[in-house]
Symmetry: D3
């Protein structure tokens, strides 16, 4: 089972100019064959299905642990899409249904507006839903690791291309981070295969062949050595990843390491403002807020919400909701 | 992001007689429209996409927190299927490819044997993959909660029917637990809607109308008051669920409660033995074990694997692998 | 728009021995590529999309009118499946969840039991859902008619094969009727093409080449001249089908005719009894009946239900529900 | 079975400026998960599969009867799309294939032009086909009604958003009407659940929370009391809906009523003109018209087509076909 | 089995202005229900599954042989799409990841850029993958031929519409050729049905009703009599097509003929230049070229590549790669 | 383009006892994610989309050439399935529709009987259609080769498991051959990657780890050195495969070689007899044979069919058709 932590793995910028067409493209990293739902659910199913895990514990610990990180990647992509969609509907006259979505006709993924509340969907860049055929879990350890190495390769390809297509600051912050972390996973699987078979897949690295240090948005993460470090995403479990994830980084020669904290510090997410035109969280969000406030009081909770959000958010919501309501 | 814990939410029995046809049926609870992947990913996406969460924190905390529990449900169903498939392939002559899957021709889900390693798949009872169209995330809080109430209703229906179809002890242990916990989620969403709108959905409870106390496998969990309790699946977050999840249980009048521990104690899972006929984890699993042992030593890890598994498992693996290799 | 009539187009036998594997096969005639949902929705969409219909009225009237008949075919197939599934679950101990579906594990379409209430589904014989890709509506009249002729050919093929595979009396009554009526539609489209282009598609008839008079279950319908007659499924509209549907039957030379009543007399359907093991219509159907009775009284309705059902049904329900409850 | 009537349930405006991008969006209301094919086929399958209907007649009559109305909604959405697509292809030089679709490259749903004849498709706003997984028919009456209430909620959401996105007069006429009628169905299912269980789902109404009286295109229908009235869509059947559909409207307090005519008077549809660039009904539609005229004569039909179309249409066709041919 | 020949069936122009939106439309002819993958795989499966072929050899030879031609059609459509996509990504600054795909956001099929390397995909114009449900192989010869006639009709419709929508020279060269060759296949299946049953399907020809001689891009092929000629695509086999493919062409009266060479002379394809922004064949294609050159030398191959490409290509690659690298 | 040759790549046994459940399992090797349609179409699309092929000719030649072999593998799997299905329907009373498919109710893939003519389908072992999402064609040479290596690994896994599940002689002959040839392709892609990057993927070989020499049905092919040899499938093209496919075999040390004939000699296929119960090729196959004979005569063809079939087949057809008709 899991515990859930109200922080995201890296900071994302607050909403700025909306980019609905860009958000549609970023969906490839969420619900595409090589998106984060795929990495998350592939490794998760492989870990659930692992047989004789005590006999192969270092490899089990590796797969299960990377799976846990991928949950956070799904979350990051979703938050990025939500950020990019914020402000896309018009809020000029919020008191009656109007043509608030007029400018979005023919732009981006129509389900972002017609089915969802300007929010992320388990779909790819074509609007096709993620499906279970994207999961490979043969149970054969060498095969599953070969698959995972290939999956990370395809995922890296997708991230680079989304980087090239979408310049929105949230998309760039996302892909910069994911490219570095995806590289760590690619290495981890190559290393595991090498230790099992002797095959030197490190030499395929990086694939596609663009070193992350050439990418400005990767650099802060490289400087924090995020390209060398595996987190365990557990206080107590997955101790044996150290038996696999070590040795030199194939590009830089630096030593790989298992972090001595369970997961990245990360940051609280922004509290994205309502989008009343799509009824998220309601056509009259202030009514919900009043009810919630009353319930919090009845339950003896402090006057301010207990959950942390990104510092910038208070102002943000005020401004944007103010606009929406006026 | 999440932390991952190497325990499952409730104990499952060790492998006994294999039941491949039953395992195919249990897949409905994993990859079906109303299976646990659906509950997990519906609530997860709704929580990722929640707008103005500070304004509606109790409701956000509720959805995000139940999402975390559902990850553990997916895990439980997967473990159940794996348990039921253990021993289904013949291990009589393990040294060369043979007709080890002959008796499984035309039985159950062929992908359990031809594609996977006698392991769980993100598919339903018909072998169709789970897909993202099963996720509803409109952003409108009242609608999303209405959906979730309905989803839990459909999920309860599926669990009851799998209970009636499959008598394997693992399947019964699973459905007994899930029916109780699913009931809690059904209540939670009904309660949230009541607080938001006044509509008394509690009166629809239970639906389908079989009280859990009539089901023997539910009783131990009822006795432990698992039908009254919401876990927070977080040490620090989701504090405001208390503003929603309280009041009397609609069937028994007992008071609902938020647990003062983050999650159920649960139990370590069994370490399911290799199934060499399907190459899981390998056609010669002992070779992988040797490599792993060597790597553990090189990494300075203790001689015994550090990860905990169910106590019965050591003997289990010894016996079953012994059979497989002889 | 439509009016709906509480009669089915031909009599079906009451439930007898259940045949869940047969019911799974009959689904091909419902949700298969060449099933009745396909004929119904192909012609319906073509009729909705017909352009310049005043200029081509006889052809429009033909397509729209056959579409109306196909709704009744979908209904017939559904009723047949429901009949074949009645009694498939055990009713021995109806007061608590039990193993009432045990004997159905691995038999037929698992969704008949795990998702539905022993009822028909919009799926084919493999359990795959019908989908909109099965609809062809090019707008080009000659092409659409060519498609329809081919669709009826494939439909006839499917009906003959289901006839050969499933001997259950309901399935045989169904296929006997549908083969005769499908033949009329095949003729109608061939005739329309002949009148438009001169191409003599009648010579392809029948295809597959088994004359219906060789099939015992077709004979009563042939004797009632159902192979020669087109119904208009409207009191007032579709008058111009007479401009297309006339001339000799290609096998027998008899004259084709447009019926002078809007639709077949048909018969009321059986009122199929509850199946409490799958909660249809409830785990305790008598409670629903009581509520309904009370509501009817409050509304000033007569004591007996106003809707007609097949005469045999009263006894049938009594017997079967009696069994279910005892 | 059904009878089919050559009228649509409400008037739609004639073609004006084409809006292919808008037509692609409106497809969500046809083939989307919450579109009219879903409401139509969900209730239709539930009615076909209803068990013990004599025991629960008022509820059966309700579901079967609303199903019949939904057929007409599918028809209305299709007609709206066809209207919006009329004129989208160029008709400047109709005598040889040209670049008549050039301006439609990259605009809207490409299947409207490449696969269909500028006509409606069983697809959603992303061009994905409707499929049978969208149908829920559990057989459990309370569950099916809960589903239906939720389905109407999602449908209302979709209609409101299409309203906001698409300003074309046909789309606005459509959504104005459907919002009012969908509200009636939402009420009907809430009422049924209340009578069965006591749960007051009326309090969830409306959801999403935009009262229809704020929507100008709804008002004429409200003035005609269409928000209070259920039609029976049958001369003789479904008498017992009166046992369920009564009591006050939750927003206005006005009394609900069952109409004393079987269905809305409605209006004849427009006869949409040919679109020769996409061969609908032909590349040379006048040839088909000649053949049809000859056949009508041979069949002894009156000189003028017997089928009624909207009065404006004669002129419309003349003008538009004239343009197309010149 | 097959031999593969490094020539395409007709010349295509070299890359010119890229047309990504047009390329997305042309995908309908590749992966659409009526695209070339469908014709290719329908006839291929029918030929694999043909029973009693010695008894029906002329018909077997016809189907198997046309299947072989369709492989070349798939190839032609793919090459066309690749040509149209060449140059669509920016190559201004090729040494680091940049915004090279920025202008393609929201244009055409996003998978052309995010998943593929500006290359063809087995998808239709909506980005939906081709699937096996598009194959009809009933085994009944008359039915299969009826299907094939209809399939060619739908394919012709699609080609005409793509012709009208896309003016790019490669798309026009493609559709001009395919319309002529598709006409031959339509005739061949009509002829086969006529010989088997007497039904004169030739009279449905052409459908849709635009004679190819009205289409400028068809004329060169008509002048080369490509509308009259069937190739055998085999040196030795399929001799018996002559028993079916003969008689007069229904439009012109000219005699049909079986070519005395196995296949069209065709032309070498262009060697399309790298697109480094999408890493095709690499981010630094010159490195691959160096390795290849070294390997060729080691294997004793001549200095110049042995495979033939279109004459214009050498210059083309030089220019375009030069641009890409500078 | 291709030429097609009327021989299959290796001999298959004639029909014997039918095995419909086995045939359903073998479908995984045809339409499964790792089946032969996937290998064929992956390499085919990659070859169509190859950019700068003159610069990387040895790699292009390799991919294009293996693609050609895979067409023959698809053919072999189809022929195997057809062989296994022959005789599955009853032929006792062939003159009228009967219960000839009764024993096949609930057995194997229902589409083999209800949709097809006891013939192969583009579906997997669960009856789900192959789809274009199974094709990976990124354009990045290193990635595409990595994918292909992984794809061959998954394909080998599937073949081994089908071997273990299905003992029918045709299935065993098939898998014995495909395992040897698949090994060659796995090697070829590993070798290509090694030459491009230095990564020694040969060390992953074989994966899954069952050497083919342990499999009796592989041995005859090993003895013929089929595990060492690449065919070019072209008289003139693909000369440069020799630059990649050389060096020692990783298991045996024997030298890899490019064959000096274009393709395996292979064998003519059996002419599988009619199955009149499913109308393949007709309900009265002798009528088709008569027509064909007449047409052959009119065309001046020799009295005996010119196409070669396996020698055993003449007797086979006589016997089986005799049975079918008597």
């Amino acid at each position: 089972m899991i515990r859930r932590i109200e922080r995201i793995q890296t900071e994302l910028p607050p909403p700025s100019d909306p980019d609905p067409a860009g958000a549609a493209a970023v969906q490839e990293l969420l619900g595409g064959k090589f998106g984060e739902m795929s990495t998350f659910l592939n490794y998760t199913f492989q870990s659930f299905n692992f047989r004789n895990k005590q006999g192969a514990r270092p490899f089990y610990d590796l797969v299960a642990n990377i799976a846990a990180e991928e949950f956070g990647h799904v979350e990051l992509v979703a938050k990025t899409i939500n950020t990019m969609l914020t402000g896309a509907s018009s809020t000029r006259n919020g008191k009656a249904p109007s043509a608030a979505l007029r400018d979005l006709k023919g732009v981006g993924n129509p389900h972002h507006f017609l089915a969802g509340g300007q929010g992320a969907l388990p779909q790819n860049s074509q609007g096709r839903p993620w499906n279970g055929d994207y999961v490979f879990s043969s149970g054969d350890l060498v095969e599953d690791l070969t698959h995972n190495f290939f999956l990370e390769t395809g995922a890296r390809n997708g991230k680079l291309k989304v980087y090239e297509m979408v310049e929105h600051p949230a998309a760039r912050a996302l892909t910069g981070y994911l490219l570095v972390r995806g590289g760590v996973h690619q290495l981890a699987y190559a290393r595991a295969l090498e230790l099992l078979t002797g095959a030197d897949l490190m030499k395929l690295f990086p694939s596609p062949r663009i070193p992350t240090e050439k990418i400005p948005e990767c650099r802060p993460h490289l400087e924090r050595r995020e390209h060398l470090r595996l987190y365990r995403f557990s206080q107590e479990d997955f101790q044996e990843v150290t038996a696999v994830f070590r040795g030199p980084h194939p590009e830089t020669g630096e030593e790989l390491e298992v972090a001595d904290v369970p997961h990245p510090v990360g940051a609280p997410a922004h509290d994205l403002p309502p989008q009343p035109a799509v009824f998220a969280p309601d056509y009259a969000p202030e009514e919900i807020a009043e009810i919630a406030q009353k319930l919090r009081k009845q339950a003896g909770l402090p006057k301010e919400p207990t959950g942390q959000v990104s510092e910038e958010s208070a102002d943000l919501v005020e401004t944007l909701v103010g606009n929406a309501r006026s």
